[in-house]
Structure formats: structure tokens, C-alpha cells
């Protein structure tokens, strides 16, 4: 039954694409009421020109070459496809190799299940690029993978992301060693020393050990951040704290880490000591990325997180960066995705209004210039007319 439902959906998508006919075009343009630039500023009368899946040009009132196919979205706004720096889409429950605590050789690329419905849900939420990460039940979980949530299957795997570590209580139990934080640090020190002494070791772990690459490190309390900051300084390694929702209580440690911090998932019932973190960190000059932690939470919680963070004082520009350019930098693909600019991948979202306004609907999603999601007709809403 589910199989046929999926086939039917696929068929519908193909039909709707046919109607748009944009995908058949290598070069085409989109006209929209406005778009959001990298600073979160609204640029009116947007014209976006696409060539072979890349952004050829974008600006206000650009002239469109004659004869070029034009999609008219004059009543809608364009925003960059969202990026989520820490998900386990399509891999729930399969992201832990439980025999050992240390899995530096594991690769989340092996978890990539392109046909999984989690990715369809991500598209629906405007999320176009994600970092697939091994679970927090491992001291060293393995290397993350950066993938697109839709589009041409051959192009969806962008490559390896940062290596993932975890210092949460979940990484320790009595069935395997190390069983404690001090045991973990002792073992990491030994592994780092070994990697540093072996110049031929080109593994992701060795690159991190030598300070050439940053790692994602999951923590689950404020004290974990402090321990991490101490360890990072001692060993000269670069660490990006994940789920550091109590970062506001250890601002000095976060600054000492000197790397972007991943926060979330935020929900309305979260206490202020969590939700104030994005604004406080951004004010202190720390780059922040929000995560939905999908599929544990819906991918749409990424936008919800921006709203909750903005409520506590996060600026528009910082809010947009936290779900686009900063996670793209963390994933190492900021030269391709995360903003609407010349030369970037044509990954963008058509919104019914301001992308940072939770009332705005996601109407269409494009990846590499190809339309991968079209929303159903919205139910009539009288307030839309007022807006």
C-alpha cells in the first residue's frame, strides 16, 4: 500500500514538473517579489537567472535575456535552501555501531538512504542540504556525510563532513570501555599522540588530531562544554560543540573554543536558559548554527528555532545565517550552498512571504535548479489577502 502511495506521489511530482517545464530548460529565470540576501535583507523585484543548476546571476530588476524561459513568482519570495548541520535522516536507529566506543573509521556516507521519506519531509520544510551524523552513543562516532535532500541522485552526495565525537552520558556505559569521561580523555590523548606521531595517517581523525580540521562534539550539559574547552586548549584541537543549549552559562568556554556552535532543537516550552543562548552567543561574536536533529524532531523545527531565537533577541541576519551559511561552513560546503549568490548551486525555496516569518508557506523547493517539491494548493485564508 505504502509502495503504491509513493509511486503515486512520484507520478504527481513528475506531472507538476511538466506543467512548470522549468526543468527541461538548462537556462531559465525566476521573477519574484523579493529575495533574502546573505545578510537577511530583503531585496525587492528579485530576478534569479539559472544556468546548468548554478546561479548565473541574482539581483533586483536584472534584465532577462530575450527568449529565456521565465517562471513568474511575482507574489512570492525567494530564500536560500536551508542547511541543517546535524541530522540522522533516513538512519534513525541505524546510526550506532554499538560494539565499541571508538569508531573513527566509520562513515555516515554508508547510512545515506536517498529514497527515505525523511528526505521528502526535509524538502517540504525547505531544507536542501544536511549533515548526516553518527549517533551520540559513541565517543568517536565516525565521519559525517554532507548530502542534499533531493534532486539528481548522482549529485546528492557532496562528500565527507567533519568527524563526530560525543562526550554525552550516552557515550558511556558499563558494557564497553571507556566507561567514564576521564577514561575518554585519557584514551583520546593517547590516540591524538599516536596520530600526531604518524605523518602518513591521513584519516579524518588524524587531521583533527593535528588541528587541521574541526570536529563536531556533542555535549549534554554546561559542564561538558567547560571540559571540552579545557581539553581542546590542552591538545590544540578544534571542536564545534553540538547541542550546547546551556552555552549561555559558559560563554567564556565557548569563546575559548573559537569555533561555531550548534544549538537546538528549540521548542516553545524550552526554558529561557536554553533559548537565550543563540542571541547571547551571536552578540559575543560566536557563529551559531541551529539544528532540527531530524528525524527526532521534524525538519521544520529549524525555522521554528529561528523564530524562538529571534524572540530572545537574535537579529534577522544572524537567524538566517544560523540555518544557511554557518551550517554550510561547518559542513565545508559554503562555496556551494547556503546563500543566493553568483556561482552557487541553485538551491532555493519559494515562500509565500518572508522566509523568517513562520506564517509563510513553502510553495516550491529547487535543488541544482531542478524543482523537487511543489506544495498543494493552500486552503483559502482570508488573512493572506490582507498581507
Amino acid at each position: 500500500m505504502r509502495f503504491w502511495q509513493r509511486q503515486l506521489t512520484a507520478l504527481l511530482v513528475v506531472f507538476s514538473m511538466g506543467i512548470g517545464a522549468a526543468e527541461a530548460q538548462e537556462r531559465y529565470a525566476i521573477r519574484a517579489a523579493a529575495y533574502l540576501d546573505a545578510d537577511g535583507q530583503r531585496v525587492e523585484n528579485a530576478v534569479l537567472i539559472i544556468n546548468k543548476g548554478k546561479i548565473l546571476d541574482i539581483g533586483s530588476d536584472l534584465s532577462i535575456p530575450s527568449g529565456m524561459f521565465v517562471l513568474d513568482r511575482s507574489d512570492a519570495m525567494l530564500g536560500p535552501g536551508l542547511v541543517d548541520a546535524h541530522v540522522s535522516m533516513g538512519a534513525m536507529g541505524r546510526d550506532r555501531e554499538s560494539a565499541q566506543a571508538m569508531e573513527p573509521g566509520a562513515s555516515a556516507a554508508n547510512l545515506f538512504n536517498p529514497g527515505h521519506s525523511d528526505f521528502e519531509r526535509a524538502l517540504r520544510a525547505g531544507v536542501t542540504t544536511v549533515v548526516l551524523a553518527p549517533s551520540e552513543t559513541h565517543l568517536i562516532g565516525g565521519v559525517t556525510a554532507v548530502v542534499k535532500t533531493g534532486g539528481d541522485e548522482k549529485k546528492r552526495m557532496l562528500g565527507a563532513g567533519p568527524i563526530k565525537l560525543s562526550l554525552t552520558t550516552n557515550a558511556f556505559d558499563m558494557s564497553r570501555t571507556p566507561t567514564s569521561l576521564q577514561g575518554a580523555f585519557a584514551e583520546l590523548r593517547a590516540m591524538i599522540a599516536k596520530a600526531k606521531s604518524n605523518a602518513d595517517d591521513g584519516s579524518a581523525f588524524a587531521e583533527w588530531a593535528r588541528g587541521n580540521a574541526a570536529a563536531l562534539v556533542e555535549v549534554n550539559d554546561a559542564a561538558g562544554l567547560s571540559s571540552l574547552a579545557l581539553f581542546a586548549r590542552e591538545q590544540g584541537v578544534r571542536c564545534m560543540a553540538v547541542h550546547a543549549n546551556l552555552a549561555a552559562e559558559r560563554l567564556d568556554d565557548v569563546k575559548r573554543l573559537g569555533e561555531p556552535v550548534i544549538l537546538g532543537t528549540y521548542e516553545f516550552s524550552d526554558p529561557r536558559r536554553y533559548t537565550r543562548a543563540p542571541a547571547m552567543l551571536a552578540d559575543a561574536g560566536v557563529s551559531i548554527a541551529l539544528t532540527s536533529n531530524a528525524p527526532r524532531y521534524a525538519a521544520d523545527w529549524l525555522r521554528l528555532g529561528t523564530a524562538i531565537a529571534m524572540r530572545q533577541g537574535l537579529s534577522r541576519a544572524a537567524a538566517l545565517k544560523s540555518v544557511t551559511t554557518t551550517p554550510a561552513e561547518i559542513a565545508g560546503v559554503s562555496d556551494r550552498v547556503g546563500s543566493l549568490a553568483k556561482g552557487m548551486d541553485a538551491d532555493f525555496v519559494v515562500y509565500s512571504g518572508d522566509p523568517l516569518d513562520l506564517r509563510s508557506r513553502i510553495l516550491e523547493v529547487f535543488i541544482d535548479g531542478e524543482r523537487v517539491f511543489v506544495a498543494d494548493e493552500p486552503p483559502a485564508n482570508p488573512e493572506d489577502d490582507e498581507a
Binding site: F172, L181, Q182, F185, L230
Partner: protein, 456 residues
């Protein structure tokens, strides 16, 4: 403010109260000014200052400049402008030192590594939270420096850390990894994890010794024996089973060579005598921790020149201590007996706080025979000496960092409390204001609890 200050009368009981109350205002003003980088030196005058046990000035004064004791004594000539704080009825001692604390351990994490029973390469500093409320509570009780002792779940445990209980994070750690702690008793056998008998279904790294005291001593001896073999380049005989990991060998050798401090937690007479026997076999020096039954081995302790970090003193063993059955023969007079016999004694509150905190421990020891000087030494100079930080803490001398306690009366009396605590010249705890309310104030405050709460 006035109204509240007057209320301190109850606590201080006497005529010079108003001076103290006024002084509190001054200190309050100064503390906030100091935070605002006001570099003005501060002169504190008190009724009595214990420079070190047996060395008292009365009245006395301390001049604090840039977080250090600039000058201290009965009379200080002032060359430049200073802020003067008069504490006419108060007594000052050096900040107390607890040489066997469990502060900063975090819930949810194992406090010890269970991968092996011999883990001297591990560091307690990796697992504790320096921002924990434990440290704030210690500071309030006048404890300014602690040795955070490794967990007792391993036969030969981790290395502890010497840290200040308050102040800027980067100045708090005095020694990242100090002494190694071993435990002789029931705790390595049952704490956090039971070592197991092998069965068809259950063979893991926990299938190991010790499950009895015989096994415990076997692990202890095996660790040092194999360390000596490996240090000589020889391989241990028994296929490496139960052998210490390579990473721990250097630390075991440092213990045998007397290069790092070594302490053994033992409570019962049996365990204390075992520790002494092992120290003679392998020729290492150690400090006895807890030592509930130490009064039963005074001759042996004296003969082998073994210092004791005694305590906590308790009314009745509770919690895991009761579970071990090792603390049933506790005696209030033990500290006094040890000191009288010439055993070097430090007092510790261990994991206890509140009415069993370190100043009260000293008070209980005094109640049972220790003089005030001896009690003061047991919580300042002796632990400083045992930790190897005598040049940093434990007594008040010019040039040292200004870690000291202002007591409302004679230290360790049941009616005395730590009114103000300074670490690195910064006021980190001040009870003179908040707790100085009159009963009338309390009634007032009590009638509107919701307003108080809503400020948070």
C-alpha cells in the same frame, strides 16, 4: 541597609556590633568597586589574625593589593591612599584546605574509569565541573583550596587535582594532576560495578579481580610488581592477565620512586595495617585517607611516619560509608589521640557539608581534645604541607595570594561562622548582608515570598 545591619547584633552579640555592621557596608561597596577594576588597595583591620597556628596578632591588619597580601601584621604604615575596612570584632585565618574533597563530581557520569582497576594515568580534573555548586558551598564555609580526590572505585585510582574553590577559572587550578589515590577496602569490589564471576553468558572486562580483599591485594601487588618488571624491560609472567596497562607504568614507578604523592584510603584496622604492610614490601611512602580506625594503629602509623587525612567525623556512618561496614568503630577522640601520639594529622569533611563542613570538623575535633591551634593546623598548614603547597596556602604571609576567612568570632566555635571569604583578594562569599536580617525583616520578607521569587 541600616535596619539589616543592626540585626547582626544577634549573631555577634556585643557592643562593637555597630562597627562591624558599618564595615559590612564598606566591604559591600568595595567588593562591587573591585569588580569594576578599581585598583585601590584595601586595608582590613580585625580583632585578631591567625597568621599561622600559634602565631597570632591582635589586633591586626592586612593590606591587600592586586589580589595579594601586600603587608600583614599588628601595625601597618600606610604610604598611599587605601580603602579601610574595620572589622573590630572579627577573627581572620588563612583560607581552609580540605585535602580529601569530592567537590565537582557530576551526576550521570561515572566518577571512576572501570576499564581497569589500575588507572593512575587518568585525571580527576577531566571529569569534574569547576563551576559546580559544591565549590561555591565550600567557599561559603571558608574552604578556599581543595584536593579533589579520585573516586574509591579502583584499587589504584586516578590522580586528583588541587584547585581553589572560587575565583577566575584560569587561576583556580593549582595542580592539574597531583597525587594518586589507592583504595583498600570494599569499595573497589562493589562500588558502581560488581566485578563478576565468569559465566557462559557473562564475560566482560568486569570479569576480574578483586571480588575479595585477597583479590584486592593481589591486584595491588601485581600492579607494582609488573611495573617494576616492565620498567626493567622484562615481561610479566602471567600472560599479562591483571597486569597494569602500559600507560600507567610511569606513574606506578613515580610512586615507587617517591616522585608523586601517594595516598591510600583505608578505614578499618585490617585495611590500614594492610596498607602499611604493602608500603613496607614495595618501599613507598603514602598518606592515609579517612582512617576511621587509625586510633587502633597509632604505633604502626607513628613507626612508619605515615600522615593521616582523617575524617569526616560523623555521628553515625551513613550512605555508602555505612554500606561498607568499615566505619562502625568510629571514635570522636581519634584525631586528638593521633596528634598527641605525634602523628601528622589533617582533617577533612570528605563528601559531607553543612553542619559537617570543614570548620565544624575542626570544631568536633576540638570538642574531643584538640587545641584550637592544633585544629587550625589540621585544616590549614598540615594539609598544605601534605599537598606540597605550603608556599602558596595554609598561612598568611605577605606576598601570597590573599586567600583568607573572616570569622564572626573565634574560628571553629559552634557559634561562629565564616562571615566573609576572600580568594585571590576577591570577596567570594559574604554572609553579613543577606543573613543579617532581624526577625522583623524575616517576617516582612516571609509575608511576600512570591515577590522575592519573581525577581529571578
Amino acid at each position: 541597609m541600616m535596619k539589616r545591619s543592626c540585626a547582626t547584633q544577634g549573631a555577634f552579640g556585643g557592643g562593637a556590633i555597630f562597627a562591624i555592621a558599618l564595615a559590612c557596608c564598606l566591604v559591600q561597596g568595595w567588593a562591587s568597586a573591585a569588580l569594576a577594576d578599581d585598583a585601590m588597595p584595601v586595608l582590613i583591620r580585625a580583632k585578631k589574625i591567625y597568621l599561622s597556628p600559634g602565631n597570632v596578632v591582635s589586633p591586626g591588619a592586612i593590606l591587600i593589593r592586586d589580589g595579594r597580601i601586600d603587608r600583614i601584621g599588628d601595625k601597618i604604615e600606610l604610604a598611599d591612599e587605601v580603602r579601610v575596612v574595620d572589622l573590630e570584632n572579627a577573627t581572620v585565618t588563612a583560607g581552609l584546605i580540605d585535602a580529601n574533597s569530592n567537590a565537582g563530581y557530576r551526576s550521570g557520569y561515572h566518577d571512576a574509569e572501570h576499564a581497569s582497576e589500575c588507572i593512575p594515568e587518568m585525571r580527576v580534573l577531566d571529569t569534574i565541573d569547576l563551576e559546580s555548586n559544591d565549590f561555591k558551598n565550600l567557599a561559603k564555609d571558608g574552604v578556599t583550596t581543595v584536593f579533589v580526590s579520585p573516586d574509591s572505585a579502583s584499587v589504584i585510582g586516578a590522580r586528583g587535582a588541587i584547585v581553589r574553590t572560587a575565583g577566575a577559572a584560569d587561576k583556580r587550578v593549582i595542580q592539574e594532576a597531583s597525587g594518586v589515590k589507592a583504595t583498600i577496602g570494599r569499595e573497589p569490589i562493589f562500588k558502581a560495578s560488581f566485578n563478576r564471576t565468569p559465566s557462559r553468558f557473562n564475560v566482560s572486562f568486569l570479569t576480574r579481580r578483586p571480588t575479595t580483599r585477597m583479590g584486592l591485594v593481589w591486584v595491588f601487588r601485581k600492579s607494582f610488581h609488573d611495573a617494576q618488571l616492565k620498567a626493567r624491560g622484562q615481561e610479566p609472567s602471567s600472560r599479562g592477565e591483571g597486569s597494569p596497562g602500559d600507560a600507567s607504568i610511569p606513574y606506578l614507578m613515580q610512586i615507587l620512586n617517591g616522585e608523586i604523592p601517594f595516598r591510600i584510603q583505608a578505614r578499618s584496622q585490617l585495611d590500614i595495617l594492610t596498607a602499611i604492610r604493602l608500603s613496607r614490601e614495595f618501599n613507598f611512602r603514602f598518606t592515609l585517607e579517612e582512617g576511621t580506625d587509625a586510633y587502633r594503629c597509632i604505633d604502626e602509623l607513628k613507626e612508619n611516619d605515615i600522615p593521616v587525612i582523617y575524617g569526616p567525623i560523623f555521628d553515625y556512618p551513613m550512605g555508602f560509608r555505612a554500606g561498607t561496614g568499615e566505619s562502625d568503630r568510629f571514635r570522636y577522640g581519634a584525631p586528638s589521640d593521633l596528634v598527641k601520639a605525634g602523628v601528622k594529622l589533617a582533617l577533612s569533611a570528605g563528601d559531607l557539608s553543612g553542619e559537617a563542613a570543614l570548620p565544624m570538623q575542626a570544631g568536633y575535633a576540638m570538642r574531643n581534645g584538640l587545641s584550637r591551634e592544633q585544629a587550625l593546623a589540621a585544616v590549614t598548614t598540615v594539609p598544605a604541607d601534605l599537598l606540597g603547597i605550603s608556599d602558596l596556602a595554609g598561612s598568611l604571609e605577605s606576598g601570597r595570594s590573599a586567600d583568607f576567612v573572616v570569622w564572626s568570632g573565634e574560628p571553629f566555635d559552634a557559634t561562629t561562622r565564616a562571615e566573609m571569604v576572600f580568594v585571590n583578594g576577591t570577596l567570594v562569599s559574604d554572609r553579613t548582608v543577606k543573613n543579617g536580617a532581624t526577625p522583623a525583616d524575616d517576617a516582612e520578607a516571609g509575608s511576600k515570598p512570591s515577590e522575592e521569587a519573581s525577581d529571578e
